[in-house]
Protein backbone atom coordinates (compact mmCIF):
# COMPACT_ATOMS: atom_id res chain seq x y z
CA UNK A 1 0.00 0.00 0.00
CA UNK A 2 1.24 3.44 -0.85
CA UNK A 3 1.58 5.79 2.06
CA UNK A 4 0.75 9.31 0.84
CA UNK A 5 3.63 11.70 1.35
CA UNK A 6 3.30 15.42 1.90
CA UNK A 7 4.88 16.02 -1.49
CA UNK A 8 1.91 14.26 -3.08
CA UNK A 9 -0.29 17.01 -1.75
CA UNK A 10 1.70 19.79 -3.38
CA UNK A 11 -1.19 21.00 -5.56
CA UNK A 12 -3.17 21.39 -2.32
CA UNK A 13 -0.39 23.25 -0.51
CA UNK A 14 -2.25 26.60 -0.48
CA UNK A 15 -5.32 24.85 0.96
CA UNK A 16 -3.17 23.17 3.60
CA UNK A 17 -1.66 26.51 4.57
CA UNK A 18 -5.17 27.90 4.92
CA UNK A 19 -6.36 24.90 6.94
CA UNK A 20 -3.37 24.94 9.30
CA UNK A 21 -3.66 28.69 9.73
CA UNK A 22 -7.37 28.41 10.51
CA UNK A 23 -6.77 25.65 13.07
CA UNK A 24 -3.99 27.69 14.70
CA UNK A 25 -6.34 30.64 14.97
CA UNK A 26 -8.97 28.35 16.50
CA UNK A 27 -6.57 27.43 19.31
CA UNK A 28 -5.31 30.99 19.62
CA UNK A 29 -8.87 32.21 19.95
CA UNK A 30 -9.39 30.00 23.00
CA UNK A 31 -6.19 31.19 24.70
CA UNK A 32 -6.47 34.87 23.88
CA UNK A 33 -7.77 37.30 26.52
CA UNK A 34 -10.94 39.07 25.41
CA UNK A 35 -9.29 42.47 25.12
CA UNK A 36 -6.90 41.19 22.47
CA UNK A 37 -9.44 39.49 20.19
CA UNK A 38 -9.25 42.21 17.55
CA UNK A 39 -5.85 40.78 16.61
CA UNK A 40 -7.72 37.80 15.12
CA UNK A 41 -8.50 39.80 11.98
CA UNK A 42 -4.79 40.29 11.43
CA UNK A 43 -4.25 36.56 11.90
CA UNK A 44 -6.92 35.77 9.32
CA UNK A 45 -5.41 38.20 6.81
CA UNK A 46 -1.91 36.79 7.35
CA UNK A 47 -3.26 33.26 6.85
CA UNK A 48 -5.01 34.23 3.60
CA UNK A 49 -1.97 36.08 2.28
CA UNK A 50 0.30 33.16 3.23
CA UNK A 51 -2.01 30.83 1.29
CA UNK A 52 -1.90 33.25 -1.65
CA UNK A 53 1.89 33.40 -1.40
CA UNK A 54 1.97 29.59 -1.49
CA UNK A 55 0.34 29.67 -4.93
CA UNK A 56 3.27 31.75 -6.17
CA UNK A 57 6.11 30.02 -4.33
CA UNK A 58 5.18 26.51 -5.37
CA UNK A 59 3.59 25.37 -8.55
CA UNK A 60 0.27 23.89 -7.40
CA UNK A 61 -0.24 21.91 -10.61
CA UNK A 62 -0.96 18.17 -10.63
CA UNK A 63 -3.41 15.63 -9.30
CA UNK A 64 -4.24 14.56 -5.75
CA UNK A 65 -6.44 11.76 -4.40
CA UNK A 66 -6.30 9.71 -7.57
CA UNK A 67 -7.52 12.53 -9.80
CA UNK A 68 -10.33 13.74 -7.53
CA UNK A 69 -8.47 17.02 -7.21
CA UNK A 70 -6.77 18.45 -10.27
CA UNK A 71 -4.58 21.50 -9.82
CA UNK A 72 -4.69 23.53 -13.07
CA UNK A 73 -3.94 27.06 -14.09
CA UNK A 74 -7.63 27.78 -13.61
CA UNK A 75 -7.52 26.49 -10.02
CA UNK A 76 -4.49 28.65 -9.23
CA UNK A 77 -6.11 31.76 -10.73
CA UNK A 78 -9.34 31.26 -8.77
CA UNK A 79 -7.49 30.43 -5.55
CA UNK A 80 -5.61 33.71 -5.75
CA UNK A 81 -8.86 35.57 -6.35
CA UNK A 82 -10.53 33.89 -3.34
CA UNK A 83 -7.58 34.48 -0.99
CA UNK A 84 -6.95 38.10 -1.94
CA UNK A 85 -10.67 38.90 -2.10
CA UNK A 86 -11.19 37.17 1.23
CA UNK A 87 -8.38 39.20 2.80
CA UNK A 88 -9.97 42.45 1.60
CA UNK A 89 -13.35 41.29 2.95
CA UNK A 90 -11.80 40.53 6.37
CA UNK A 91 -10.14 43.95 6.38
CA UNK A 92 -13.40 45.67 5.50
CA UNK A 93 -15.33 43.83 8.21
CA UNK A 94 -12.75 44.24 10.98
CA UNK A 95 -13.92 47.48 12.61
CA UNK A 96 -17.59 46.49 12.54
CA UNK A 97 -16.91 42.99 13.86
CA UNK A 98 -14.75 44.40 16.64
CA UNK A 99 -17.56 46.72 17.72
CA UNK A 100 -20.52 44.41 17.21
CA UNK A 101 -19.23 41.01 18.39
CA UNK A 102 -16.28 41.94 20.61
CA UNK A 103 -16.08 38.66 22.53
CA UNK A 104 -16.74 36.22 19.72
CA UNK A 105 -15.04 37.98 16.82
CA UNK A 106 -12.47 35.20 16.52
CA UNK A 107 -15.23 32.78 15.48
CA UNK A 108 -16.34 35.19 12.78
CA UNK A 109 -13.00 35.10 10.98
CA UNK A 110 -12.59 31.36 11.51
CA UNK A 111 -15.96 30.65 9.94
CA UNK A 112 -15.01 32.90 7.05
CA UNK A 113 -11.68 31.10 6.59
CA UNK A 114 -13.41 27.72 6.44
CA UNK A 115 -15.84 29.04 3.87
CA UNK A 116 -12.90 30.26 1.77
CA UNK A 117 -11.24 26.85 2.22
CA UNK A 118 -14.35 25.27 0.69
CA UNK A 119 -14.19 27.66 -2.29
CA UNK A 120 -10.50 26.93 -2.65
CA UNK A 121 -11.12 23.16 -2.84
CA UNK A 122 -13.86 23.73 -5.41
CA UNK A 123 -11.36 25.24 -7.83
CA UNK A 124 -9.89 21.83 -8.60
CA UNK A 125 -12.64 19.38 -7.67
CA UNK A 126 -12.90 16.86 -10.51
CA UNK A 127 -14.93 14.29 -8.60
CA UNK A 128 -18.54 14.62 -7.50
CA UNK A 129 -17.88 13.61 -3.90
CA UNK A 130 -15.09 16.16 -3.42
CA UNK A 131 -17.18 18.73 -5.27
CA UNK A 132 -20.15 18.21 -2.97
CA UNK A 133 -18.08 18.23 0.22
CA UNK A 134 -16.23 21.39 -0.82
CA UNK A 135 -19.50 23.03 -1.85
CA UNK A 136 -21.06 22.38 1.57
CA UNK A 137 -17.85 23.45 3.30
CA UNK A 138 -18.31 26.76 1.53
CA UNK A 139 -22.09 27.06 2.12
CA UNK A 140 -22.60 26.02 5.74
CA UNK A 141 -20.27 28.70 7.18
CA UNK A 142 -22.22 31.27 5.16
CA UNK A 143 -25.43 30.31 7.02
CA UNK A 144 -23.58 30.67 10.32
CA UNK A 145 -22.18 34.06 9.33
CA UNK A 146 -25.58 35.44 8.25
CA UNK A 147 -26.98 34.50 11.66
CA UNK A 148 -24.01 36.05 13.47
CA UNK A 149 -25.79 39.23 14.61
CA UNK A 150 -28.00 37.20 16.93
CA UNK A 151 -29.79 40.12 18.60
CA UNK A 152 -30.87 41.55 15.26
CA UNK A 153 -34.32 40.24 14.39
CA UNK A 154 -34.12 41.07 10.69
CA UNK A 155 -30.72 39.49 10.29
CA UNK A 156 -32.03 36.30 11.94
CA UNK A 157 -35.04 36.19 9.61
CA UNK A 158 -32.71 36.73 6.67
CA UNK A 159 -30.50 33.91 7.93
CA UNK A 160 -33.46 31.51 8.22
CA UNK A 161 -34.48 32.31 4.65
CA UNK A 162 -30.95 31.99 3.32
CA UNK A 163 -30.59 28.68 5.14
CA UNK A 164 -33.88 27.17 3.93
CA UNK A 165 -33.34 28.27 0.34
CA UNK A 166 -29.72 27.14 0.51
CA UNK A 167 -30.57 23.70 1.94
CA UNK A 168 -33.30 23.14 -0.64
CA UNK A 169 -30.99 24.21 -3.45
CA UNK A 170 -28.21 21.94 -2.19
CA UNK A 171 -30.66 19.02 -2.18
CA UNK A 172 -31.74 19.87 -5.74
CA UNK A 173 -28.13 20.11 -6.89
CA UNK A 174 -27.32 16.78 -5.24
CA UNK A 175 -30.37 15.11 -6.77
CA UNK A 176 -29.23 16.23 -10.20
CA UNK A 177 -25.72 14.99 -9.48
CA UNK A 178 -27.09 11.63 -8.28
CA UNK A 179 -28.85 11.17 -11.65
CA UNK A 180 -25.67 12.02 -13.57
CA UNK A 181 -23.73 9.65 -11.33
CA UNK A 182 -26.23 6.88 -11.96
CA UNK A 183 -26.00 7.29 -15.73
CA UNK A 184 -22.23 7.16 -15.87
CA UNK A 185 -21.74 4.80 -12.91
CA UNK A 186 -18.81 6.97 -11.90
CA UNK A 187 -18.22 10.01 -9.73
CA UNK A 188 -15.46 11.41 -11.95
CA UNK A 189 -16.72 14.49 -13.74
CA UNK A 190 -14.70 13.65 -16.82
CA UNK A 191 -16.24 10.17 -16.99
CA UNK A 192 -19.71 11.69 -16.61
CA UNK A 193 -19.09 14.26 -19.34
CA UNK A 194 -17.70 11.57 -21.65
CA UNK A 195 -20.70 9.34 -20.99
CA UNK A 196 -23.21 12.13 -21.56
CA UNK A 197 -21.49 13.11 -24.78
CA UNK A 198 -21.65 9.53 -26.07
CA UNK A 199 -25.16 8.69 -24.83
CA UNK A 200 -27.34 11.78 -24.49
CA UNK A 201 -30.59 10.88 -22.73
CA UNK A 202 -33.58 12.72 -21.26
CA UNK A 203 -32.50 11.65 -17.78
CA UNK A 204 -29.10 13.31 -18.31
CA UNK A 205 -30.87 16.50 -19.36
CA UNK A 206 -33.05 16.35 -16.23
CA UNK A 207 -29.93 15.87 -14.12
CA UNK A 208 -28.14 18.79 -15.76
CA UNK A 209 -31.23 20.99 -15.42
CA UNK A 210 -31.49 20.20 -11.70
CA UNK A 211 -27.81 21.01 -11.25
CA UNK A 212 -28.32 24.35 -13.00
CA UNK A 213 -31.47 25.06 -10.98
CA UNK A 214 -29.90 24.12 -7.66
CA UNK A 215 -26.83 26.25 -8.31
CA UNK A 216 -29.04 28.96 -9.76
CA UNK A 217 -30.52 29.49 -6.31
CA UNK A 218 -27.08 29.91 -4.78
CA UNK A 219 -25.78 32.43 -7.28
CA UNK A 220 -29.09 34.18 -7.98
CA UNK A 221 -30.10 33.32 -11.53
CA UNK A 222 -33.41 34.93 -12.40
CA UNK A 223 -36.36 32.78 -11.33
CA UNK A 224 -34.36 31.62 -8.30
CA UNK A 225 -33.08 35.02 -7.19
CA UNK A 226 -35.91 36.06 -4.83
CA UNK A 227 -33.97 35.58 -1.62
CA UNK A 228 -30.99 37.68 -2.76
CA UNK A 229 -32.33 41.23 -2.17
CA UNK A 230 -33.94 40.25 1.16
CA UNK A 231 -30.80 38.61 2.46
CA UNK A 232 -28.70 41.62 1.41
CA UNK A 233 -31.12 44.10 2.92
CA UNK A 234 -31.51 42.27 6.22
CA UNK A 235 -27.88 41.21 6.66
CA UNK A 236 -25.13 43.34 8.13
CA UNK A 237 -23.37 45.12 5.28
CA UNK A 238 -19.76 44.13 6.16
CA UNK A 239 -20.80 40.51 5.75
CA UNK A 240 -22.76 41.22 2.56
CA UNK A 241 -19.47 42.58 1.16
CA UNK A 242 -18.25 38.99 1.35
CA UNK A 243 -21.51 37.18 0.56
CA UNK A 244 -22.27 39.18 -2.58
CA UNK A 245 -18.89 38.63 -4.16
CA UNK A 246 -16.93 35.46 -3.52
CA UNK A 247 -19.66 32.76 -3.15
CA UNK A 248 -21.07 33.78 -6.53
CA UNK A 249 -17.72 33.22 -8.21
CA UNK A 250 -17.44 29.93 -6.28
CA UNK A 251 -20.86 28.93 -7.67
CA UNK A 252 -19.55 29.67 -11.16
CA UNK A 253 -16.52 27.54 -10.35
CA UNK A 254 -18.89 24.59 -9.90
CA UNK A 255 -20.56 25.49 -13.21
CA UNK A 256 -17.17 25.58 -14.91
CA UNK A 257 -16.12 22.23 -13.41
CA UNK A 258 -19.32 20.44 -14.33
CA UNK A 259 -20.59 22.06 -17.49
CA UNK A 260 -17.36 22.83 -19.34
CA UNK A 261 -15.63 19.46 -18.90
CA UNK A 262 -14.89 17.56 -22.15
CA UNK A 263 -15.44 20.52 -24.47
CA UNK A 264 -18.55 21.58 -22.61
CA UNK A 265 -20.46 18.32 -23.05
CA UNK A 266 -23.09 19.09 -20.41
CA UNK A 267 -23.33 22.77 -21.34
CA UNK A 268 -23.94 21.80 -24.97
CA UNK A 269 -26.70 19.43 -23.93
CA UNK A 270 -28.34 22.03 -21.69
CA UNK A 271 -27.63 24.93 -24.04
CA UNK A 272 -31.28 25.94 -24.53
CA UNK A 273 -32.12 26.27 -20.80
CA UNK A 274 -28.82 28.07 -20.17
CA UNK A 275 -29.56 30.53 -22.98
CA UNK A 276 -33.08 31.23 -21.72
CA UNK A 277 -31.88 31.61 -18.13
CA UNK A 278 -29.07 34.01 -19.00
CA UNK A 279 -31.34 36.22 -21.11
CA UNK A 280 -34.13 36.29 -18.50
CA UNK A 281 -31.58 36.93 -15.74
CA UNK A 282 -30.22 39.93 -17.64
CA UNK A 283 -33.70 41.31 -18.30
CA UNK A 284 -35.08 40.71 -14.81
CA UNK A 285 -31.98 41.89 -12.95
CA UNK A 286 -31.84 45.18 -14.81
CA UNK A 287 -35.57 45.94 -14.88
CA UNK A 288 -36.13 45.10 -11.21
CA UNK A 289 -33.12 47.22 -10.23
CA UNK A 290 -34.77 50.24 -11.88
CA UNK A 291 -37.47 50.50 -9.24
CA UNK A 292 -35.40 50.00 -6.09
CA UNK A 293 -35.10 52.81 -3.58
CA UNK A 294 -32.71 50.96 -1.27
CA UNK A 295 -29.08 50.93 -2.38
CA UNK A 296 -28.45 47.44 -1.02
CA UNK A 297 -31.44 46.05 -2.92
CA UNK A 298 -30.33 47.95 -6.01
CA UNK A 299 -26.87 46.42 -5.76
CA UNK A 300 -28.48 43.00 -5.17
CA UNK A 301 -30.41 43.23 -8.45
CA UNK A 302 -27.37 44.67 -10.20
CA UNK A 303 -25.56 41.55 -8.95
CA UNK A 304 -28.27 39.42 -10.54
CA UNK A 305 -27.68 41.13 -13.87
CA UNK A 306 -23.92 40.61 -13.54
CA UNK A 307 -24.58 36.90 -13.04
CA UNK A 308 -26.37 37.09 -16.39
CA UNK A 309 -23.22 38.47 -18.04
CA UNK A 310 -21.10 35.77 -16.42
CA UNK A 311 -23.51 33.18 -17.81
CA UNK A 312 -23.10 34.65 -21.30
CA UNK A 313 -19.38 33.95 -20.99
CA UNK A 314 -20.17 30.41 -19.83
CA UNK A 315 -22.39 29.82 -22.87
CA UNK A 316 -19.51 30.28 -25.27
CA UNK A 317 -17.95 26.97 -24.08
CA UNK A 318 -14.66 28.25 -25.47
CA UNK A 319 -11.27 28.84 -23.92
CA UNK A 320 -11.59 32.52 -24.71
CA UNK A 321 -15.00 32.62 -23.02
CA UNK A 322 -13.69 30.88 -19.91
CA UNK A 323 -10.77 33.30 -19.70
CA UNK A 324 -13.09 36.27 -20.01
CA UNK A 325 -15.38 34.78 -17.37
CA UNK A 326 -12.38 34.77 -15.02
CA UNK A 327 -11.57 38.38 -15.93
CA UNK A 328 -15.18 39.41 -15.33
CA UNK A 329 -15.14 37.55 -12.01
CA UNK A 330 -12.12 39.51 -10.76
CA UNK A 331 -13.68 42.80 -11.83
CA UNK A 332 -17.04 41.92 -10.29
CA UNK A 333 -15.54 40.85 -6.94
CA UNK A 334 -13.57 44.03 -6.32
CA UNK A 335 -16.14 46.45 -7.73
CA UNK A 336 -18.96 44.90 -5.77
CA UNK A 337 -17.01 44.66 -2.53
CA UNK A 338 -15.98 48.29 -2.88
CA UNK A 339 -19.55 49.45 -3.52
CA UNK A 340 -20.91 47.58 -0.48
CA UNK A 341 -18.04 48.87 1.68
CA UNK A 342 -18.99 52.45 0.77
CA UNK A 343 -22.66 51.67 1.57
CA UNK A 344 -21.49 50.39 4.95
CA UNK A 345 -19.30 53.44 5.58
CA UNK A 346 -22.11 55.85 4.70
CA UNK A 347 -24.59 54.15 7.00
CA UNK A 348 -22.09 53.70 9.81
CA UNK A 349 -20.77 57.25 9.71
CA UNK A 350 -23.84 59.19 8.67
CA UNK A 351 -26.81 57.26 9.99
CA UNK A 352 -29.49 56.79 7.37
CA UNK A 353 -31.24 53.66 6.23
CA UNK A 354 -29.34 52.51 3.12
CA UNK A 355 -31.90 54.30 0.95
CA UNK A 356 -30.75 56.21 -2.12
CA UNK A 357 -31.93 59.33 -0.28
CA UNK A 358 -29.36 58.71 2.44
CA UNK A 359 -26.69 59.26 -0.25
CA UNK A 360 -28.00 62.79 -0.93
CA UNK A 361 -25.16 65.29 -1.14
CA UNK A 362 -22.55 62.76 -0.14
CA UNK A 363 -19.93 64.76 -2.02
CA UNK A 364 -20.27 67.57 0.53
CA UNK A 365 -20.28 65.26 3.54
CA UNK A 366 -17.32 63.14 2.47
CA UNK A 367 -15.90 63.86 -0.97
CA UNK A 368 -13.57 60.86 -0.93
CA UNK A 369 -16.40 58.37 -0.32
CA UNK A 370 -18.46 59.98 -3.09
CA UNK A 371 -15.54 59.75 -5.51
CA UNK A 372 -14.88 56.10 -4.61
CA UNK A 373 -18.56 55.20 -4.98
CA UNK A 374 -18.61 57.00 -8.36
CA UNK A 375 -15.74 54.82 -9.55
CA UNK A 376 -17.45 51.63 -8.35
CA UNK A 377 -20.80 52.54 -9.91
CA UNK A 378 -19.19 53.49 -13.22
CA UNK A 379 -17.34 50.18 -13.17
CA UNK A 380 -20.56 48.27 -12.48
CA UNK A 381 -22.19 50.15 -15.34
CA UNK A 382 -19.26 49.37 -17.65
CA UNK A 383 -17.96 52.88 -18.38
CA UNK A 384 -14.53 53.03 -20.09
CA UNK A 385 -11.35 52.95 -18.05
CA UNK A 386 -12.91 51.10 -15.17
CA UNK A 387 -12.42 47.35 -14.88
CA UNK A 388 -16.14 46.71 -15.52
CA UNK A 389 -15.84 48.17 -19.02
CA UNK A 390 -13.09 45.79 -20.10
CA UNK A 391 -14.87 42.88 -18.42
CA UNK A 392 -18.06 43.49 -20.42
CA UNK A 393 -16.16 44.23 -23.62
CA UNK A 394 -14.09 41.04 -23.38
CA UNK A 395 -17.15 38.92 -22.59
CA UNK A 396 -18.95 40.39 -25.60
CA UNK A 397 -15.91 39.66 -27.80
CA UNK A 398 -15.89 36.04 -26.62
CA UNK A 399 -19.64 35.71 -27.17
CA UNK A 400 -19.26 37.24 -30.66
CA UNK A 401 -16.45 34.83 -31.46
CA UNK A 402 -18.69 31.94 -30.42
CA UNK A 403 -21.29 33.06 -32.93
CA UNK A 404 -24.06 34.38 -30.66
CA UNK A 405 -24.33 37.73 -32.45
CA UNK A 406 -27.83 38.43 -31.16
CA UNK A 407 -26.72 37.99 -27.57
CA UNK A 408 -23.99 40.61 -28.00
CA UNK A 409 -26.47 43.19 -29.34
CA UNK A 410 -28.92 42.31 -26.58
CA UNK A 411 -26.29 42.44 -23.82
CA UNK A 412 -24.91 45.76 -25.04
CA UNK A 413 -28.34 47.38 -25.13
CA UNK A 414 -29.30 46.09 -21.70
CA UNK A 415 -26.11 47.51 -20.21
CA UNK A 416 -27.16 50.93 -21.49
CA UNK A 417 -30.39 50.49 -19.52
CA UNK A 418 -28.31 49.62 -16.46
CA UNK A 419 -26.75 53.10 -16.61
CA UNK A 420 -30.05 54.60 -15.48
CA UNK A 421 -30.18 53.07 -12.04
CA UNK A 422 -26.50 53.48 -11.33
CA UNK A 423 -26.73 57.13 -12.32
CA UNK A 424 -29.65 57.63 -9.91
CA UNK A 425 -27.22 57.02 -7.05
CA UNK A 426 -24.61 59.24 -8.72
CA UNK A 427 -27.16 62.03 -9.07
CA UNK A 428 -28.13 61.72 -5.40
CA UNK A 429 -24.48 61.94 -4.37
CA UNK A 430 -23.48 64.90 -6.52
CA UNK A 431 -26.62 66.91 -7.37
CA UNK A 432 -29.04 66.59 -4.45
CA UNK A 433 -28.62 68.80 -1.39
CA UNK A 434 -27.57 66.85 1.71
CA UNK A 435 -30.12 66.24 4.49
CA UNK A 436 -27.54 67.51 6.94
CA UNK A 437 -24.04 68.82 6.58
CA UNK A 438 -22.46 66.56 9.21
CA UNK A 439 -19.20 65.12 7.91
CA UNK A 440 -19.13 61.32 7.55
CA UNK A 441 -16.09 59.82 9.20
CA UNK A 442 -14.62 56.55 8.02
CA UNK A 443 -12.28 54.59 10.24
CA UNK A 444 -8.83 53.97 8.71
CA UNK A 445 -9.17 50.16 8.46
CA UNK A 446 -12.40 50.23 6.45
CA UNK A 447 -10.89 53.05 4.43
CA UNK A 448 -7.88 50.90 3.57
CA UNK A 449 -10.20 48.17 2.27
CA UNK A 450 -12.02 50.73 0.10
CA UNK A 451 -8.68 52.04 -1.21
CA UNK A 452 -7.59 48.50 -2.12
CA UNK A 453 -10.83 47.87 -4.03
CA UNK A 454 -10.50 51.23 -5.75
CA UNK A 455 -6.90 50.46 -6.73
CA UNK A 456 -8.05 47.19 -8.28
CA UNK A 457 -10.96 48.79 -10.12
CA UNK A 458 -9.05 51.78 -11.49
CA UNK A 459 -5.69 50.01 -11.80
CA UNK A 460 -7.02 47.12 -13.87
CA UNK A 461 -9.21 49.63 -15.72
CA UNK A 462 -6.12 51.54 -16.86
CA UNK A 463 -3.88 48.50 -17.43
CA UNK A 464 -6.13 45.54 -18.27
CA UNK A 465 -3.31 43.79 -20.16
CA UNK A 466 -1.64 41.78 -17.38
CA UNK A 467 -4.92 40.46 -15.95
CA UNK A 468 -6.20 39.70 -19.46
CA UNK A 469 -3.08 37.67 -20.20
CA UNK A 470 -3.27 35.87 -16.84
CA UNK A 471 -6.94 34.99 -17.39
CA UNK A 472 -6.22 33.74 -20.93
CA UNK A 473 -3.33 31.60 -19.73
CA UNK A 474 -5.36 30.23 -16.80
CA UNK A 475 -8.07 29.03 -19.17
CA UNK A 476 -5.72 27.25 -21.55
CA UNK A 477 -6.17 23.50 -21.72
CA UNK A 478 -9.10 23.35 -19.33
CA UNK A 479 -12.03 22.90 -21.70
CA UNK A 480 -10.49 20.07 -23.68
CA UNK A 481 -10.11 17.66 -20.80
Amino acid sequence: MNVPMLVDFQPLLPDLVLLVGALWLLILDLLMPHGRKRLMAGGAIVTLLAAAAATWLYDPIGTVWGGAYLGTGLAVFLKRLFYVGGAVAVLGARTHVNEAYARRQGEYYLTMLFSILGMSLLTGARDLILLVVAFELMSIPLYVLTAFPRDDKRATEGAVKLYLVGAASSATLLFGLSLLFGLAHDTSILAIATHVQAHPSPLALVGAAMVIGGLGFKIGIFPFHMWVPDAYEGGHTPFIVFLSALPKIAGFTVFIQLLLARNGALATMALAPLLVLSVTTLIAGNFLALRQSNVKRLLAFSGVSHVGFLMLALLTRSELGLGMLLFYGVGYVFTNMGAFLVVHAVKNGGGGDDSIASFDGLVRRNGWLAAAMLAFLLSLAGIPFMVGFWAKLFVFLAVWEAGFYGLVVFGASISVLALFYYLRVVRAMFMNPPANEAVIDVDPVTNTAIVLCLLAVVGIGLYPGPLYDAARVAAVGFIGN
Binding site: L128, I129, V132, V133, E136, S139, I140, Y143, V144, A147, R150, D151, K153, T156, E157, A159, V160, K161, Y163, L164, V165, A167, A168, S170, A171, T172, L174, F175, L177, S178, L179, F181, G182, H185, D186, T187, M226, W227, P229, D230, R291, Q292, S293, N294, R297
Partner: protein, 99 residues
Amino acid sequence: MDVRFYLSLAAVLFVTGVYGILTRRNAIGIMLSVELMANALNLNLVAFGRYGAGALGQVFAMFSIALTVTEVVVGLGIVVLLYRSRHDVMVNLASEMKR
Protein backbone atom coordinates in the same frame (compact mmCIF):
# COMPACT_ATOMS: atom_id res chain seq x y z
CA MET B 1 -37.72 -5.11 -9.70
CA ASP B 2 -35.27 -2.92 -11.48
CA VAL B 3 -33.67 0.45 -10.88
CA ARG B 4 -36.59 2.31 -12.41
CA PHE B 5 -38.79 1.40 -9.46
CA TYR B 6 -36.38 3.05 -7.03
CA LEU B 7 -35.93 6.07 -9.29
CA SER B 8 -39.70 6.57 -9.45
CA LEU B 9 -40.01 6.28 -5.69
CA ALA B 10 -37.17 8.76 -5.25
CA ALA B 11 -38.79 11.16 -7.72
CA VAL B 12 -42.09 10.96 -5.81
CA LEU B 13 -40.28 11.60 -2.51
CA PHE B 14 -38.43 14.53 -4.03
CA VAL B 15 -41.56 16.14 -5.44
CA THR B 16 -43.30 15.65 -2.08
CA GLY B 17 -40.42 17.52 -0.48
CA VAL B 18 -40.66 20.36 -3.00
CA TYR B 19 -44.42 20.56 -2.40
CA GLY B 20 -43.77 20.76 1.34
CA ILE B 21 -41.28 23.60 0.91
CA LEU B 22 -43.73 25.59 -1.16
CA THR B 23 -46.73 25.09 1.14
CA ARG B 24 -45.30 24.87 4.66
CA ARG B 25 -45.00 28.01 6.79
CA ASN B 26 -43.29 26.42 9.76
CA ALA B 27 -39.49 26.49 9.51
CA ILE B 28 -39.24 23.01 11.05
CA GLY B 29 -41.79 21.74 8.51
CA ILE B 30 -39.72 23.16 5.67
CA MET B 31 -36.60 21.52 7.10
CA LEU B 32 -38.45 18.19 7.20
CA SER B 33 -39.38 18.68 3.54
CA VAL B 34 -35.75 19.35 2.66
CA GLU B 35 -34.94 16.16 4.53
CA LEU B 36 -37.37 14.28 2.26
CA MET B 37 -35.55 15.66 -0.77
CA ALA B 38 -32.21 14.61 0.71
CA ASN B 39 -33.48 11.12 1.39
CA ALA B 40 -34.80 10.89 -2.16
CA LEU B 41 -31.35 11.53 -3.53
CA ASN B 42 -29.76 9.11 -1.07
CA LEU B 43 -32.18 6.47 -2.30
CA ASN B 44 -31.10 7.28 -5.85
CA LEU B 45 -27.45 6.86 -4.95
CA VAL B 46 -27.93 3.58 -3.13
CA ALA B 47 -30.16 2.20 -5.91
CA PHE B 48 -27.60 3.14 -8.55
CA GLY B 49 -24.98 1.49 -6.35
CA ARG B 50 -26.99 -1.74 -6.24
CA TYR B 51 -27.65 -1.71 -9.99
CA GLY B 52 -24.26 -1.17 -11.59
CA ALA B 53 -22.19 1.45 -9.86
CA GLY B 54 -21.19 -0.79 -6.95
CA ALA B 55 -19.89 0.42 -3.61
CA LEU B 56 -19.25 3.88 -5.02
CA GLY B 57 -22.95 4.65 -4.76
CA GLN B 58 -23.03 3.73 -1.11
CA VAL B 59 -19.87 5.74 -0.41
CA PHE B 60 -21.43 8.76 -2.10
CA ALA B 61 -24.59 8.22 -0.03
CA MET B 62 -22.58 8.13 3.19
CA PHE B 63 -20.97 11.46 2.34
CA SER B 64 -24.32 12.89 1.41
CA ILE B 65 -25.92 11.77 4.70
CA ALA B 66 -23.06 13.27 6.72
CA LEU B 67 -23.35 16.56 4.85
CA THR B 68 -27.11 16.69 5.36
CA VAL B 69 -26.67 16.13 9.09
CA THR B 70 -24.17 19.01 9.37
CA GLU B 71 -26.52 21.23 7.46
CA VAL B 72 -29.45 20.31 9.73
CA VAL B 73 -27.41 21.02 12.87
CA VAL B 74 -26.63 24.54 11.69
CA GLY B 75 -30.22 25.00 10.51
CA LEU B 76 -31.74 23.99 13.84
CA GLY B 77 -29.37 26.41 15.57
CA ILE B 78 -30.62 29.24 13.36
CA VAL B 79 -34.25 28.25 13.94
CA VAL B 80 -33.68 28.29 17.73
CA LEU B 81 -32.29 31.80 17.27
CA LEU B 82 -35.44 32.77 15.38
CA TYR B 83 -37.62 31.32 18.13
CA ARG B 84 -35.75 33.28 20.79
CA SER B 85 -36.27 36.56 18.97
CA ARG B 86 -39.92 36.08 17.89
CA HIS B 87 -41.38 33.20 19.89
CA ASP B 88 -42.57 31.46 16.77
CA VAL B 89 -40.85 29.79 13.83
CA MET B 90 -43.16 30.78 10.99
CA VAL B 91 -41.46 32.00 7.83
CA ASN B 92 -42.88 33.14 4.57
CA LEU B 93 -40.53 32.31 1.75
CA ALA B 94 -42.87 33.82 -0.81
CA SER B 95 -43.05 37.31 0.73
CA GLU B 96 -40.02 38.50 -1.17
CA MET B 97 -41.37 40.91 -3.73
CA LYS B 98 -41.94 43.86 -1.45
CA ARG B 99 -41.22 47.31 -2.82
